[in-house]
Amino acid sequence: MLSCKHILTMDDLSAADIVQILDTADSFSEVNERRIKKLPTLRGRTVVNLFLEPSTRTRTSFEIAAKRLSADGLNFTASSSATVKGESLRDTARTLSAMSCDLVVVRHKYAGAPQMLAESMDACIVNGGDGMHQHPTQALLDLFTMRSRLGRLEGLTVGIVGDIYHSRVAGSLVPALKKVGARPIVIGPPTLMPARPDVLGADVVYSLDEALPELDVAYMLRVQFERAERMPFPSNREYARFYGMNGARLAAAKPEMIVMHPGPMNRGVEISAEVADSPRSLVLDQVNAGVAVRMAVMYLLLGGAESGVAA
């Protein structure tokens, strides 16, 4: 069992919770390799995917995770939900609450929406990404991927590169890395940094080339042009020159350094096609880990130890 009822931010999880989630995800990962991938663990439980911002990979990942645990899952998306008819998030929460849902995964354009839901309903709430704030299950699947490939988390130096300001992934990954004893460095131009990156607990470096030799993991972020009011750098070409991961940088880094990216990738901007498709890129491993980690999160929040993993 986890020490928390909801996973709204990484603050909700202790280091022990994180290890438990990753270990549980290891077991589910084996299940995902089987021909029959379904477990009866959450039979009769209802999981709602409340996705009020467009998302394909995260929604699909949660949906598959729920199905593999035999939960009854349903999707509320921005276009189908009542929010387009003007219903407030609190009313949506009250409505879902009245239908006795057990777990709600929420993805929302604005920060704090998962917390609002947690205050307005009894179900377990899992933050599936809120505004520029946090995306805890992404951080968990990233830790899972790093641990699977590198065999450890403690002591790793992880460079998170690019659009830190708009990134809820960075918002969760930085504290997650701190909790497991790794060292996060945020790397990018000052125009893509939050006001006080130090409060997240990361070192701040403006030059990728300066930090590169130290990195065990280069975690590349997509530049979220759609959220930026003004172009934060002169051109994609210039950005790629200073902050893009390419073959030359890969060659200059530690030979065992891995490259990760939460997707979707802007090939040619923050990551070259050559790197994206190289064996040192773990982008698809991350996607694969997403299902197992989300199964683990649902299982631990809803089922707990009582029903057992091995089925």
């Binding site: 917390q115 918002g171 939050p194 006001a195």
Partner: protein
């Protein structure tokens, strides 16, 4: 009919009063102030253990009428004002439609005459529709009774427009109230830019967006000679600019709000939209600088920026919810709790900050406790216990940043022209 206020601590620094005295009121005017006074017939109010102040006035109130009567009206807003101990409020023009014509001013003054519980002074818009593009009919509004002019809520973004407005205002001897915000710097910001914006993943509203505009407006005072009042200053940097302007003898005044004095960004542990205001709650260091400036006289008045909002709008996501907290009903209690009972300020300073300061800043007729003055009087019970709850608030909207607070001291009675607007803590309808 005569009224005798018996044995209160009568405090008015404008006329050198701070003693236990009696006040006799006749025909709406203070007839006599002295010791052991009596009246042959009429009513005697026991003011023992109370503090008697010249009527408090709020320099910055949003009454929401016309346009958002579901949030507040002239009637409900002035009831809230009386409940909080104010004898007058100054209504900001960002209503729907904007108060940018003489008839808009007249409408509000007529509403106040009909249903107002306290006095209402009207602030007109500086630019048409508060769009910052062309002058509103400032002379017309002034002739109909507007006391001051402001594009509160937006600020005037271009220096050229602000300069024309400030030049023009001089012809009508009117003060410009500046909402200091460079929107190109604050755009999208909902909390102070810094620790909290980073922690909560919310767009930041940097102190520099206010300070850049304060600096510009002070320079325009030098250029035009127009009187300037800076609304709801929130940062240490703004205070430094005002202090410097005052030292240079410029006609610049400023106000701060109770929420910026008594709350800072650390209060935003979650996403409580009652703590979303414009300008946002700042750092603890800013807050301390504001308190210091209140105590040393740099700040002219404490003004509430009373901003009522409908519950269903405050229940939205933090970035979508409207800015603002109500303030009329809690301001005096907060000042007593945090500044007077802690001996940072005395009651004479409260009279300066909440009665004389705002009147002087906005050019309103002065009100004192001397014989001959109109009997606009606030009587305070400094030992009254207040718990700020939705039920305790009498205004229509309950979006107070201080819900749940336990405060010390409250207005017990408010007299306007000798008539009770608040009596024994209850609003007189």
């Amino acid at each position: 009919m005569a009224l005798l206020l018996k044995g209160g601590r009568v405090v008015d620094p404008a006329v050198g009063l701070d003693a236990t005295l009696d006040i006799v009121i006749r025909d709406g005017v203070i007839a006599e102030v002295g010791e052991d006074l009596s009246i042959p017939k009429g009513e005697t109010i026991d003011c023992a253990a109370k503090v008697v102040l010249p009527g408090l006035v709020d320099a910055h109130t949003h009454l929401r009428e016309p346009g958002r009567e579901d949030e507040e009206t002239v009637e409900s807003g002035t009831r809230a004002a009386a409940h909080g101990g104010f004898t007058a409020v100054c209504a900001m023009p960002n209503t729907d439609p904007v108060c940018d014509t003489g008839s808009g001013v007249r409408f509000l003054l007529e509403r106040a005459e009909d249903v107002g519980v306290v006095r209402v002074h009207v602030i007109g818009a500086v630019t048409r529709g508060q769009r910052g593009e062309a002058l509103a009919e400032i002379g017309d509004m002034r002739a109909e009774g507007a006391v001051a002019f402001s594009d509160d809520g937006h600020g005037i973004q271009t220096g050229g427009m602000a300069r024309i407005a400030m030049d023009y205002l001089k012809a009508f001897d009117a003060v410009m109230i500046s909402h200091a915000e460079d929107s190109s710097l604050s755009s999208g910001g909902v909390v102070n830019e810094g620790v909290i914006s980073t922690r909560l993943g919310l767009p930041g509203w940097p102190a520099a967006a206010e300070e850049a505009m304060v600096a510009r407006d002070i320079r325009l005072v030098e250029l035009t000679g127009c009187r300037l009042h800076l609304a709801h200053l929130s940062t240490a940097g703004s205070i430094a600019l005002v202090r410097d302007a005052k030292e240079r003898g410029l006609p610049v005044t400023c106000e701060v709000t109770p929420h910026h004095l008594f709350l800072d960004e650390e209060a935003l542990s979650g996403y409580d939209t009652n703590l979303k205001m414009n300008p946002p709650l700042r750092t603890a260091a800013d807050r301390e600088a504001l308190i210091e400036a209140v105590c040393d006289g740099t700040v002219d008045c404490i003004a509430t920026d009373h901003a009522p909002h409908a519950l269903h709008e405050k229940e939205l996501e933090f970035e979508l919810a409207p800015f603002g907290t109500t303030g009329l009903e809690t301001a005096l209690s907060l000042v007593n709790t945090h500044l007077v009972s802690t001996e940072k300020l005395d009651w004479a300073a409260v009279a300066r900050l909440m009665a004389h300061g705002p009147r002087a800043a906005l050019g309103l007729p002065n009100v004192t406790l001397a014989a001959g003055s109109v009997a606009d009087i606030t009587i305070v019970d400094p030992e009254a216990k207040v718990e700020v709850t939705r039920d305790w608030l009498v205004g229509t909207s309950k979006n107070s940043a201080f819900l749940g607070a336990r405060l010390l001291g409250k207005a017990s009675d408010v007299l306007i022209g000798g008539y009770f607007a608040l009596r024994n803590g209850k609003v007189v309808a």
